[in-house]
Structure formats: C-alpha cells, structure tokens
C-alpha cells in the first residue's frame, strides 16, 4: 500500500489512487519496463543533482539530506528487480457495492432496512477482512429500474453509466430478498465493473427471518466472481493476480477453476471503451493455494495460436474472469468464414472432457450448422474437436453452460472433403485392381508352368484388359483440375492427397511384370495352326 502511494499523484482525481502506475512498452504490454524506469530515474537524478550543483553553495545539512535521498533512491533501484515483476492488483481490495432489495414490508420501514444493510455490511467486512471494501445500501431510484433485469436470466441487461465507472467501484452485487411459501428466498448476482459482465445467479432459502442475514451473506459471497489481471509468463502459461488476494487473512487453497480471458480497452480516463472476450480461450488454474505473491499460475487453453500475445492498440488490460460451469447444454453453430450466412453442415464435433482421454463423438452439425453440446455431470469444461472427414479443423475449449449459444467460424472444407472421398474411391479401385492382378498373375504363372497355353492366353487377355497405370493417372489429372478449394490450406491438402495417390498408382501398377509374362507366353506358347 505505502509503495503504491509513493508513486501516485493524489491531485489527479480521475485516476484511481489505488491503481499503481505501470510503464507501458511501445507494444502495449502490461509489464513494468525496468530499463526505462532506470533511465528515467537516472535522468531525474542527474537533472536534480545538476540543478543542485548549479545552485548557490548550500549548507552542509541540506547536502546531507539530499545525499540520503539519493541513497534511498539507489536502494530502491536495487530492490526494483524484485519489485518490478509484481502486480499490485493483489494488494488492491475489492470495492463491493451491495444493493439490497428487501421485501416491501421491510423496505417501507426505513429503520429496519438500514439496520439490515448495516448488519450485512458488518458481517461481510468481518468475514472477508481487508480483501473486501463493502458498502451495503438500499437501491437508489436509478438502480431500481434495472434490478429486475439484473436478476432475471431471460431479460436483456443494460446497466447505468455509474455501474461502469471503475473509479467508483469494482463490483455491484444485487441482492434481493423475497418472501415465499417456504420462508425467505434470497437471490444475488454480481456485476463486475471491469469486465462488464453479470455473474451467475445464486439463490438461497432461509426458513425464518433470523436466518436471512446469514443467507444473504452467503449468497453475496458465492455470487462474487473472482477477477484477476493476467501476466504472461511463457507462451502457454500465465499468472493471474487475483484482486486482493494478498489482503486475505487466510490463504486457503483455491479450487480448480476456469477463467475467461478478456481484453479491456480503456480511454484516457480509465473508462472502458470496450471489453472483448478473447475468443475460444480459457485459463485453467490448478487446485491449491496461491503463490507467495498472491498470484495463481494458469494454463492457457485456446483454439487460437497466441491469443494473449497479439498486438493490441491503445490502453489495454488483460483480465481474467472466473467462469462457473453450469448444467446447461450449449448450441454450437459452425459458420463459413468466407460467407457467414452459409452454415457448415455435416461437420463432426467431438469432445474431450477436461481435455483428457480420447475424444467422444457428440454429433454432426445439422442443416443449420448447429449441434447441441451436452453438459457433463458434474459440469466442467471440454475440448471440442471439429472434424471434417480426416481433417481436424479446430480444437477449442468450452466451459459447460457458459453460454446458451456460441458460433465458430471455419473455412469451407467441402471441396477438400469431396476430393478426399474421390481419392478414397480411387484407392479402393487400386486395391481391387492390384489384388485381382496378383490373382491373375499367380494363376497365369501356374498355367505357364503346367504348359496349359490355352488357359494362359485367356488369363493373359484378362490381365491386359485391366485398367492400366496411364488410364488411372489420366483420370486423376482430370479430376484434380476440376477440384478447387478456396481455403489455401485445404487446397494444399488436396494437392498432397493427389500426389500421394499418384505415387501409389505408379508403385503398384508397374506394368513390367505383366509385360514379362506376355513376352514369356509369346516366346513359349506354341503357334496355333489354323485348320481350314
């Protein structure tokens, strides 16, 4: 905390005083640049010392004080390599605004409502400690309008502008208590300001009013979705700095979790211009306590090559938002990358639960290019394989129930599939031909050895009537010219398949053996005498 304040300018109200200053590389990577920092410090030091040198002779005490300052700065520089690698997000408490919507008979009584909110705030604060900075209040007029939408799955949700200001809060948790026939129904949902997403709906029931407070605290705790900043460590691994993790009193082991990776594009004021999830990318953290620095290592599972390393213009934060798997099937829709109106029909979708084991067949896309992905029991995540014929077109992760509908754009692979089918039939013909040829050759040799020239000549004629290598090659060439795949990778595969088939034809339909047998018969077989 003290370190961060040293580098904050508190006279800039638009900046969050808790947000540390981080130096940006020209590439926009969210990492402090130690070299640049040192240069800047040194320059400042030189400037200040130069300034000091140019000044009037100073008193000894002032000189001593400035020397101490310089020494402290040098010491800080020396400690910098240890410090620069650490994000301060782990030291930042999570600012929760809990909006409490109580039933009318409680809400109309101001005292009861306020008391409930106060008790809930105290309870949450005592349970979570400094990691959370909680404020609990009844809804304002502005909030009431959208609370219903926030608590319903089927209604569109458009939060007010104040709910998007990171300067004011990190999360808004909507809590509603309703009387039912079974007692009190408590429902809660988390809106994260940074990632601008609603969390899952969490519900709890309390039989009596006295249990509502505990139930409310429980639902709020469960509804809050962890958010982290992403630090790229290696190509396939990252570290997540969970917000406020170092402020927690106990570093209890964290469960295995999946995180959605998002890119938050900010304006100069730190407000979000857009929050874009990185497509088909999840981060998987193992079960266990966080590291000493409060971070958690995660494996990147993505359908893209380098999802986190891509160049991004402007002020960008890479954030991770925990996803809770749900028991709900997802409809996957495959679309043509070149023509998004065209569905991809008949593509196979397989799934590897947790990315392990052999992929299990789920189904083929229907006429709309869609296939339903069922959920596992218990729900988790799976690696989806999209295959078309022998080609695997994509391997993408999907968390069960994370959404109802999702779309994946792929290249149109139909021409390659048709080529593959055609070549498989050619190979079948080749197998049949080679087998038949072998059988005929064996029989022919037997007839020659037995001196049965009549049968030998008959078999020779059968052999010569079989399709030749040249005819095969010619047909292959003609067909190859007809086939064109707009996808360059697909076209390359087509060409490769044709090449391989041609090689097999040349290898197995060598006419030499047949020619030798024909010559042998021509030399040895007695000439037929034609009788009038």
């Amino acid at each position: 905390m003290a370190l961060s304040r040293q580098f904050c300018k508190s006279d800039e109200p638009s900046r969050n005083p808790a947000t540390p200053i981080t130096w940006w590389r020209p590439s926009g990577k969210h990492l402090p640049d130690p070299v640049g920092v040192r240069r800047q410090i040194k320059l400042a030091f030189y400037v200040s010392t130069g300034h000091m040198m140019r000044r009037q002779p100073i008193e000894k005490t002032r000189l001593l004080r400035e020397a101490l300052i310089a020494a402290a700065a040098l010491a800080w520089l020396g400690a910098f390599p240890v410090v620069y690698g650490q994000s301060f997000f782990t030291l930042v408490p999570c600012r929760l605004n809990v909006i409490c919507l109580l039933p009318p008979e409680i809400a109309t009584s101001t005292g009861l409502e306020q008391e409930f909110c106060r008790q809930l705030g105290e309870r949450l604060a005592s349970e979570q400690g400094p990691a959370w900075r909680v404020s609990v209040a009844p809804p304002s007029a502005e909030d009431r309008a959208i609370l219903r939408a926030a608590l319903r799955r089927d209604l569109p949700f458009d939060p007010p502008t104040s709910w998007r200001k990171v300067a004011l809060r990190d999360k808004v948790v909507v809590l509603a208590v309703k009387r039912t026939g079974l007692g009190w129904h408590v429902v809660s949902r988390d809106w994260d300001v940074r990632v601008e997403r609603l969390g899952p709906l969490v519900e709890h029931t309390a039989p009596t009013w006295s249990g509502v407070l505990a139930a409310a605290a429980e639902t709020v705790r469960r509804a809050v979705v962890p958010v982290a900043q992403i630090r790229l460590v290696e190509q396939q691994a990252v570290r997540l700095d969970l917000q406020g993790s170092l402020l927690m009193e106990e570093r209890s082991p964290l469960p295995r979790r999946q995180f959605l990776a998002l890119a938050r594009y900010e304006d100069r004021d730190g407000n979000a211009r857009a929050v874009v999830p990185l497509p088909w990318t999840i981060l998987q953290s193992p079960e266990g306590p966080p590291a000493e620095d409060g971070s958690v290592s995660c494996q990147i599972i993505s359908g893209l090559k380098n999802p986190l390393s891509a160049r991004r213009r402007g002020r960008v934060q890479l954030l991770a938002w925990a996803v809770t798997p749900r028991s709900r099937s997802v409809v996957l829709s495959l679309r043509n990358r070149q023509d998004s109106q065209k569905p991809l029909v008949g593509y196979e979708v397989l799934a590897q639960p947790d990315g392990e084991g052999s992929p299990q067949f789920l189904g083929r896309t229907d006429f709309a290019g869609q296939v339903e992905i069922p959920t596992e029991d218990p729900p988790g995540w799976k690696l989806l394989w999209v295959k078309h014929g022998r080609r695997v077109l994509a391997k993408v992760p999907l968390v069960d129930g994370s959404t109802e509908f999702t779309e994946l754009a792929l290249p149109d692979d139909d021409p390659r599939l048709l080529a593959e089918g055609y070549l498989m039939s050619v190979q079948d013909q080749l197998v049949d031909l080679v087998t038949l040829r072998s059988v005929l050759i064996a029989r022919l040799r037997a007839r020659i050895a037995a001196g049965d020239w009549e049968q030998a000549i008959r078999l020779r004629d059968q052999l010569l009537q079989l399709k030749s290598r040249e005819v095969f090659s010619s047909e292959l060439t003609q067909q190859q010219q007809r086939l064109f795949c707009p996808d360059p990778v697909g076209q390359k595969q087509i060409d490769k398949m044709f090449e391989e088939t041609r090689r097999l034809v040349n290898l197995y339909l060598n006419p030499r053996e047949v020619e030798e047998l024909v010559k042998e018969i021509a030399m040895k077989a007695p000439r037929r005498t034609d009788t009038p």
Binding site: G346, E348, R364, F367, G389, L418, G421, D428, D432, V439
Partner: protein, 822 residues
C-alpha cells in the same frame, strides 16, 4: 475285301508264312512229333499246377466239422442291412442241426431251389473263414435262408413288435437292392396294414389313411383294407371338418373315390354334406331376410366350402355379396405395427392403410417426383411468398373415437416434426419450415425458409391429435382410417377389419361404398395362400413369390397383377462393428454375392421386367424412361461377381478390422463369422440362404437370424436384409439412413454432405444430379450394400372390381372394391 486285308494279302504272297506246310516239314521224323506231343503234355500238366490259381477243393462237410463250425455270430446291435450280407444254412440232425453263416451263395437269380434237391452238393464258403470252402450234400440241408429273406424276416419281426420306423428301413433297403425277392410284397402289405392299424389306434388318421391308400394300390382286394380305410376316412374327415378344413376333408373323400369307387364311406359323406349344405342355404336365406347380411356372408362362405356343387350357389353368393361385401385376403406377412408410411415393413405398410391413413399418401411415380393425394387436406404452395397453405377437407376422416382432426392438431403435429427434441422430429421438414400459424379453424399456413420441390412429400405422416403429442406417456394415437380392427374377433392368424363409420364419405353418396369387412388370414407359406386362393377360401393374396407364379398359370379364375413400383433390396451393414464398418470388408462381401444368379433363382429362372441387379440405393425404374428411375445413375454398373477377389479382400479386411478393434478398445473379431438378420418371410429367407452359401464359399460362416422389421435390428447383427420402398428418393433415402444407421459418426462424411444438399435443390434437374452424386458416393462407400430391385405381385379371384387399377400397395383404393355382378 478292305484295303488292310489287301495289304496283308500282298504281304502274305511275298513272305512264306510259317503255318504253311512245306515238303520239308512233312518229312520230319514221326518220333519227333511224338516227343513234341509228350513234352507238350508234360508242360500242360506242370503248367497247370504251377501257373493256375490253386482252386481250393471244397472239403466234404462232416458232422465233426459242422459241430465245430455251428456257432454263427450275428451282430444284433447293428441293423442287418448295415452289415455285410450273409446267408444262413440249416443242416439236419446228422450234422448236429448246425446253422452255418455263409458268404452269399451264388445261386442262379439268388433263388433257393424249391423243393430242395435230394442229390448233389452245395458249395459254401464260411462267412467267418473266408477261403474255406466246403461241399454240403443237399441231403444234409434242411433250409437255406438268403440274406434278403433274413431282412424280410427281421422286418416282419419288427412289424409285429410295432417298431415301424425300423421296419420301414429294412423294407426300403430290400426294395432298393433286392426288389425281386419273393415275399417282399406280402411283407410290405403287412407293414402298411399294421402301421395303419396302430396309427388309427393312436388317432393318427392321416398316416393311417396314407398307408391304406398305398395298400390299396398294392392290393385293392386286401381283406382288411375296406374296413380300416373306412375308419381312417371317417376319423380324418371328421377331424378336418371340425377344424373347418372343408376342402381338405372333401379331398380325402375324393381320393378314396379314385382308389375304391364303391366304398360306402364316399356316398355316406357326400350325402351328409349335401344335407348340411341344404341346411346352410336355408339359414343363409333366413338371415338375409332378417337383414343380418354379415352372418349371411359367413354362412354362404361356409356353404361354398361344404358343398361347392350346391345348385344355385353362385347366385346366392352374389346376392349376399351385394348385401355385405366382405373380402378375405391371404397374407404371409402380418403387420405388427400398422404404419402406412413404413419404408421397410411390408405388412405394416399394408395394414396401416386400412386403419391409419396417412395425412398425405404416395400413389405412384409422376413426371416430377411422386404423385400424392390426401383424404385430410389440400395444399397450395406460394413460391413468391414462400408459404404453404394447408386447408382441411370438410369430409376428412375422423378418429376412431369420433374426434375430428383440427387445424390445431395439424399445426401442433407440424411443429413437433420441426422440433429437434421431439420424437417425431423429421430433419428435412425442420430444415424447410420457418414458422407455422393457424390461420382459421380449417387452415394452417406454413412459412418456409426456402421452397422445396415437393412439399407434400414431407407430410407423409399419420395424423395424431395434439393432446397425444403433448403427452409424454407414450399413448398410442387413435386409429383414423377407413376400417377399424375388431380386436375381439381377431386372433394371432386372423385379423378382422370392419368399416369405420366415422370415415369420410364422399359428399354425393348417401350410402357407404366399398367393402363392409376385410379379413386377413395369415398363411405360413405363399403356396398355402395360393392353394386357398384357387380353392376359393380367400379372395386375394397380397404378395405372390415370383418363383411361384407358375402355380397360378393355369388357374383361369385368378388374375395376377404387378404393383406399380418395385422395392429395392439391400443389405444394411452395422457400421458400429469393426468388420462391417470396414469398407474393404463390405466390398469383399459384395463381390462374393452372385446377385444375378440369386435374382434368377428368385424369379424362377425367368426374366421379369423391372427386376434387375442394382448398383445404388435407388430404384432403377421398371423400364427405359420410367420417371421413377430419375435418381438412379445407370452409368454406374453393378460390381461383378468376383469370388477370388472377395476372398483376398476379406482376408485383408479381417486383419484391418482386428487392428481397428484393438485401437478402439473393442474385442477384436476372432472368427470368420457374420450374423445376417432378415425379415421373416420367404423371399428374404431364400435370398439370405443363398447369400449364406456364397459367403461360405469364401470361408465365412453366416448365422441367419429372423428379425421383424418393426423392431430395431438385433445389436449383434452385422448385416440386415431390407426391402425398402424408396419411392420418393429425395425424402425416403434420408428416412432410410436415419432409421437404419442411427449412429451418425460412422456414416461417411461425403454421404452426409450429399444428403445435406438434397433439400436445397432449386429444380428437378439439380435434384436429379445431386441424387446421382449420392448414388456414386454410396456406391463407393457401400454405406448400404445394394442387391436388386424386385417387382411384386398380387393375385385375386375374378369377379372383383377395383383391383385392376395400378397401385403401390394393396389397399390403396380399398374404398372402391366391390364384387362384380354375375
């Protein structure tokens, strides 16, 4: 003289032949001639002893010897005819009454001289001591029993012991090998009479009658024949009469009249039947007058069976038929689950048309796809607005419970067919429909995503009330057809369908037309049904085996017709199993089937138009230019019969399949055995039997399993024999693959791609091209193994109107059937 002799003559004149006696040879001293003769004599004597086979001189048989030898060993555990033949010789007291077992004595014609000679010797060879020959004076012989006589004796003994099966074997052997032995006819007659008597005692009158008929051919004057045959006839006729097998009972009496024209049982039974017929006629007229035409029909049919020669019978029958038209249909394939839209179940498709009429019915091929009609609705396609308007007919049939099929029911049903989570989901329909709305109580409008070429083809389903669709209890939809099944009058081999009073009637007729009742009678074999047809027990036979058509060739009062569209016969492989899932294996099995030969065998060796070997899953049409064949690519020739290629390929495929099974973690196939399932009727049985034989030739054992087509195929079967009604290829091929290959991951992706493109065809030429492409893919992949297409036949007695029109199934126009007036 021939030229050779001339040559020889010429040679003889030049050469002194040694046999010419010359003067020199005449002058040889006489002693030399004597010496020569003596030497020759000595040589002969010596040579005879040296070179001749030493014939053993039979020793005289003395009492001492006969005492030593008189212990013949006869094996009683083995039937005599399975033992080496032997004769038995009985000697007199002077020879200790010995019985000797001999090798068969070479008597002339194998007949023992009767009486036995009193002088001379009989040469014998002992059976147990071959080579030892003896001479037995005839005087010492008491009896000589030849082997065939021993057999007859044994047969007689077995007959007396009532062991008729064993006795029959003896008699059969003797009749085959020794037909002229004396006593055979007597023993045979004894056998027949005794067996008949025993059969009668056990109540097996049919066997007794057969025996006695044979006896009457051998010996019509046998003293016991008349009484026994009378008993047998009485019992047999009574049994058959009781079962209702009147024609069979009459047949017994007819047979007796040919064998023993004067037998009193003949006249007795004829008299009885005439009396009964007269009584029945009286009853018929009485119930007819009372207005109970149904009962009159039953009685008059019985009357015809009892005594077809009854005077005035034809007129009476016509009268009854006019009042109550009832048809009896002989079937060999019952329909377990009536479904008029079934692709593969002949029986279900047939009887489904009676009690569960489809919303839209296929009636035959047309110039552009099939032709359809509907008793429920009219349809109108608006290509510009992309809508399909369905208007319910006012006179549409009602459900069996009297409910009407409403627009709401229709809309719900169409929506369920488009719902992927509903069991009625039909993908081609779901692809087309964008929205459904009920425009009025009688009209439903369907918004389409695109305009299909034949939208009515997608509406082939049985109407179901909305309340049943919404119910998850699996309730059966009420019947809605021109007839209702009278379950209480039906049995496991007879089904009675009564006219549905709620069925729609045409607006310009006040009284119902068409049959009042249809009775389906199941026969185990087609020829039994044809016999019943010829005998008048049934009026129609719904399916005649092609090879049995000659049985009707001479029946002048029976008409044979062909169905309008052929069926496509296929083998559907179980692609989830390693062997049939292997492409090379499927190809090998196809190469191993001589389809031409099997087809010829099914057709009884004749050519039938429309029956041919095919190369794809579509019908090829019955003639050149037949619009039904628009999906069939005639340029793709069926794969030829290549057993040597099949053998080699199947070996390769077997090893590949083992490898694949190991990779998948499945048990690898250990033995060369496949399971072939087929529907339980004769055409499939015969075809699969021949396929079994041909696969056996390449080293594969085939186990045949019968499986009803209305049930899912057995999970362990490798191939399923199917007769598919692919009449609207665009839709039916998808239905076939969806039904029979449910595990889509094993379906070839090229076939899947080709299927997906069918519905989006903008015009008929495009659709035709796509279907032919699909034909090519299926041909390459052998997703289904095509066999042949077969035209089917039905037969009916003359005097029935309405069956002469071409049809795709028997009951297509059942409402118009009637008996022609005489």
């Amino acid at each position: 003289m021939d030229s050779a002799s001339q040559k020889m003559d010429r040679l003889g004149k030049h050469i002194d032949l040694p046999n010419q006696r010359t003067a020199d040879t005449r002058r040889l001293p006489r002693c030399h001639g004597l010496c020569r003769t003596a030497c020759l004599l000595v040589l002969c004597i010596l040579g005879r002893d040296a070179f001749a086979e030493a014939p053993q001189q039979p020793s005289p048989l003395t009492p001492q010897i006969s005492k030593q030898l008189s212990e013949p060993s006869i094996d009683t555990s083995t039937p005599l005819y399975e033992q080496p033949p032997f004769d038995l010789l009985y000697l007199n007291a002077a020879n200790n009454n010995a019985v000797l077992k001999l090798s068969p004595v070479p008597l002339p014609d194998r007949k023992v001289p009767q009486p036995l000679p009193r002088s001379g010797y009989l040469e014998i060879e002992l059976f147990d001591r071959p080579g030892e020959r003896y001479r037995v004076p005839w005087q010492a012989v008491v009896q000589l029993k030849l082997f065939e006589q021993l057999l007859l004796e044994q047969a007689t003994k077995l007959i007396q012991e009532k062991r008729f099966d064993e006795a029959y074997d003896y008699l059969d052997y003797v009749a085959t090998h020794h037909p002229n032995v004396s006593g055979l006819a007597e023993v045979e007659q004894l056998f027949l009479i005794e067996e008949a008597r025993a059969a009668l005692a056990q109540g097996q009158s049919e066997r007794a009658f057969a025996d006695l008929c044979r006896l009457s051919q051998l010996n019509p004057n046998h003293p016991e024949l008349s009484s026994l045959i009378g008993q047998a006839v009485d019992t047999l006729v009574a049994q058959r009469w009781q079962k209702g097998e009147y024609a069979a009972a009459r047949g017994v009496v007819e047979t007796l009249s040919k064998l023993l024209p004067q037998h009193p049982a003949i006249e007795k039974w004829r008299q009885q039947w005439q009396t009964e017929a007269a009584e029945l006629e009286k009853q018929v007229r009485q119930v007819l007058a009372e207005g109970n035409a149904r009962q009159a029909d039953r009685l008059v049919r019985k009357l015809r069976q009892v005594w077809p020669q009854q005077p005035g019978l034809d007129q009476l029958i016509a009268e009854v038929r006019q009042a109550y038209p009832r048809f009896q249909v002989g079937i060999t394939q019952p329909g377990a689950r009536p479904d008029p839209t079934s692709l593969i179940d002949w029986g279900s498709r047939r009887c489904g048309q009676l009690i569960r009429k489809a919303l839209v019915e296929y009636t035959g091929p047309g110039p552009e796809g099939g032709e359809y009609r509907s008793a429920f609705l009219r349809w109108q396609l608006d290509a510009e607005k992309q809508t399909l308007t369905l208007r319910l007919r006012p006179e549409r049939p009602r459900f069996a419970d009297g409910r009407s099929y409403t627009a709401y029911d229709l809309a719900q049903q169409l929506a369920s067919r488009a719902d992927r989570h509903h069991e009625a989901y039909f993908p081609p329909w779901a692809e087309v429909v964008a929205g459904i709305r009920v425009f009025s109580p009688e009209e439903v409008i369907v918004n389409l995503r695109f305009v299909p070429l034949k939208p009515e083809a997608l509406l082939q389903c049985v109407p179901v009330p909305a309340v049943i669709l919404a119910s998850s209890a699996g309730n059966r939809s009420p019947d809605v057809g021109p007839f209702l099944l009278a379950a209480e009058e039906s049995s496991s081999s007879r089904w009675v369908f009564l006219r549905n009073s709620h069925a729609g009637t045409s607006s310009d007729q006040t009284s119902p037309v068409g049959p009042a009742e249809i009775e389906e009678i199941a026969f185990p074999r087609c020829r039994d049904a044809l016999r019943a047809l010829r005998g008048g027990e049934v009026d129609i036979v719904d399916r005649v085996n092609p090879w049995e058509l000659p049985l009707l060739a001479e029946a002048r009062d029976v008409t044979v017709q062909t169905y309008r569209v052929p069926l496509v016969h296929l083998l559907v492989p179980n692609l989830s199993k390693p062997l049939p899932g292997n492409r090379d294996f499927r190809r090998a099995m196809l190469y191993a089937i001589d389809r031409d030969r099997i087809l010829q065998s099914l057709l009884g060796g004749k050519r039938q138009p429309g029956c041919q070997v095919i190369s794809g899953p579509f019908p090829a049409g019955t003639s050149f230019g037949d619009p039904l064949g628009y999906a069939y690519d005639a340029q793709i020739k069926p794969r030829e019969y290549q057993p040597s290629l099949a053998l080699a390929l199947s070996e390769i495929a077997f090893r590949q399949a083992q490898e694949v099974a190991r990779k998948r973690g499945l048990p690898p196939p250990e033995s060369r055995e496949v399971v072939l399932a087929h529907p339980p009727h004769e055409i499939a049985r015969e075809a699969c039997r021949q396929i079994q034989e041909q696969w056996r030739l390449i080293g594969w054992t085939v186990k045949l399993v019968e499986a009803s087509p209305d049930q899912p195929p057995p999970p362990n079967c490798d191939f399923l024999y199917v007769e598919a009604a692919i009449w609207e290829p665009e839709v039916d091929v998808i239905r076939l693959i969806t039904r029979l290959i449910p595990e889509r991951q094993y379906l070839s992706p090229q076939v899947e791609l080709a299927l997906a493109g069918l519905g989006h065809s903008a015009d008929w030429p495009t659709l035709g091209q796509r279907l032919r492409d699909l034909h090519r893919w299926v041909y390459d992949d052998l997703t289904v193994v095509p066999l042949w297409q077969l035209v089917d036949f039905y037969a009916y007695r003359s005097g029935i109107k309405g069956l002469e029109e071409p049809r795709v199934s028997l009951y297509q126009n059942v409402e118009t059937w009637q008996f022609a007036p005489n």
